[in-house]
Amino acid sequence: MTKILVTVKRIPDPDESLKFAGSELDLSSVKWVPNAFDEYAVETALRLAEDVNNKKSKLAEIIVLSICPQKQRQHMTQFLAMGADRGVIVDADDSELDTAAISKIIAKVAQDEGVDMVITGKLSQDNEGNQVGQRVAGLLGWPQACFAAEIDWDQSGNTLSVHREVDDGVEVKKLPLPAVVSVDLRVVLPTSVRNGVNPADHKFTDGPRLASLRGITMAKRKKVDVKTPSDLGVTNAGGESTVAVNKPPGRMAGQMIGSIEELVEKLATEAKVL
């Protein structure tokens, strides 16, 4: 059976405001939530694996992988409750690890598990590296499709056709498996993922699915392997270090304008932009 490895990360809730402590972020009281792009990645994998007309027939096994402190795995539980089959946790404080080390860990797990696809989020909303998927592909020597907005899986040809969102439009790239895909926002629109088995007009619901009650119960019974970076032979090279984290300068307070006439007048004479 096809194996899909999905990488998932927890991040401080992006809807809460950031707290600074000197020239560092104060993360002591943040609420941790799953990275939105990783929810999309899991949803993508579920759609690829799902035969909607025959719920018993699964097209792929989905393994979720997170590098995180072992005890802080709520995000992992949520993804198992959404429907992923099993989990791998690499126990480490990922904020202490370089992107290079995170990527090596993921590549090693992909190899050990013998997976056919690695699906990552395009971006972690906190660190904004936008590089883990590309790095994993480089380390494995596999083809890559980054910023995926639509995916067609041709199972007989063992290929993916991916619509990638690039600066000036959409590129369609066909790649043989095994491969790495990083997903962008629009991959969770209702008809973005096609696996050749579901009817072409099948619409999934918009956005990542919520865990069902049954899913939540089942999640507790699903297998989660715990490893350490050293089990996988990965050490931190120390290529990235934080010198300081600062609050960006705020914008000066603006003014509320009473009418469109006044607005145009001010833009012309005060801001001098018309």
Binding site: P12, P14, D15, L18, A100, L123, Q125, D126, E128, N130, Q131, Q134, R135, A137, G138, L139, G141, P143, Q144, C146, F147, S161, E165, D167, D168, G169, V170, E171, V172, K173, K174, P176, L185, R186, L189, G238, G239, E240, S241, T242, V243, A244, V245, N246, K247, P248, R251, G254, Q255, M256, I257, S259, I260, E261, L263, V264, L267, A268, A271, L274
Partner: protein, 321 residues
């Protein structure tokens, strides 16, 4: 001696203008390290290199790698070429503008060379320490990179385009094997537009979910064209298919910093603000006085777009004529 190497993008034998800020950032790094700036042109034919060399941009040498497999762009083949060029040229810093092209291939090359990469650099603090935004621009991280080889991508809106400088020499790098790993670029659906590129425009007019449907963007387009600007949108508007996805401004879309940004019927979620907060003058028009977009706006108008926009177009038209 080590060098800073900038990866360039060309089209039709010409340098793509969005590369220029990346050269400027690289020049700052080269100066901070006291090492020379080199440029790299990849493609099926290297004729673009002559034009680039003529402009110089303060680089010592323009290197070329010419191979049919480098066109159309694939991250696979480009990363191979960049890895080879890094070793051949003896580069210690490799980077360029944070375009979708370089964001795709540079991290792959960096992984092969086991090198760190600092993404979306907005300021060069020293030869090895760069500032980049994190958490949707709500914090600025000063990150130090160490190692013999380091990579960067620079945010185009934060560096002035490099100016032409002393002429450089051109040198071909041979004997490279590039491999597309079996991928095939089936095609690119380019959004056709006669307007300036979103990231290069002086004025950006963006619409959000409150525009409700695609045809309603007509009035925004009229305003955009009167101002000679580019059209933008929020995620809600692009997801709903009102306008093409590549018009999305924000953390996951284009980062813009025009002279004038006009946000219409956009609430101002942090992910949207991350893409336009650097604009010089921000105008927000929204029917909800509590919308967070007003917190970053220089000029806010509480109004329905149906009432305000047609009049806005009329008034600007009257001023222009």
């Amino acid at each position: 001696m080590s060098k800073v190497l900038v990866v360039l993008e060309t089209a039709g034998g010409k340098l793509r203008p969005h590369c220029l800020p990346g050269i400027a950032a690289a020049k700052q790094i080269a100066d901070a390290r006291g090492i020379p700036l080199h440029l790299l042109v990849l493609g099926a034919d290297a004729s673009a290199a002559a034009e680039i060399a003529a402009a110089g941009y303060g680089a010592a040498t323009v290197h070329t790698i010419q191979d049919p497999a480098l066109e159309p762009f694939t991250a696979e083949a480009w990363a191979d070429a960049i890895v080879h060029a890094t070793k051949t040229v003896g580069a210690s810093v490799i980077g360029g503008t944070a375009s979708s092209t370089l964001r795709d291939c540079l991290p792959r090359a960096a992984a092969v060379l086991d090198a760190p990469l600092c993404a979306e650099v907005v300021a060069v603090k020293s030869g090895d320490t760069f500032t980049r935004p994190i958490s949707a621009g709500r914090a600025l991280l000063d990150e130090k990179l160490s190692g013999e080889i380091v990579f960067f991508t620079a945010r185009g809106s934060e560096f002035e385009p490099a100016a032409a400088g002393a002429a450089a020499s051109v040198s071909a790098i041979d004997g490279v094997s590039v491999d597309t790993r079996g991928v095939e670029v089936v095609g690119i659906q380019k959004t056709q537009s006669s307007r300036p590129a979103l990231t290069e425009a002086d004025v950006v007019v963006s619409g959000g979910r409150g525009m409700r449907e695609g045809p309603n963007f007509k009035v925004l387009e009229d305003l955009t064209d009167l101002l000679g600007g580019a059209l933008g949108a929020s995620r809600a508007a692009t997801d709903a298919g009102m306008v093409p996805a590549d018009l999305q401004v924000g953390q996951t879309g284009k980062i813009v910093a025009p002279n004038l940004y006009i946000a219409v019927a956009i609430s101002g979620a942090i992910q949207h603000l991350a893409g336009m907060k650097g604009s010089k003058t921000i105008v927000a028009i929204n029917k909800d006085a509590e919308a967070p977009i007003f917190q970053v706006a220089d000029y806010g108008l509480v109004a329905k777009w149906e009432d305000a926009l047609p009049r806005f177009v009329e008034l600007v038209q009257a001023r222009k004529s």
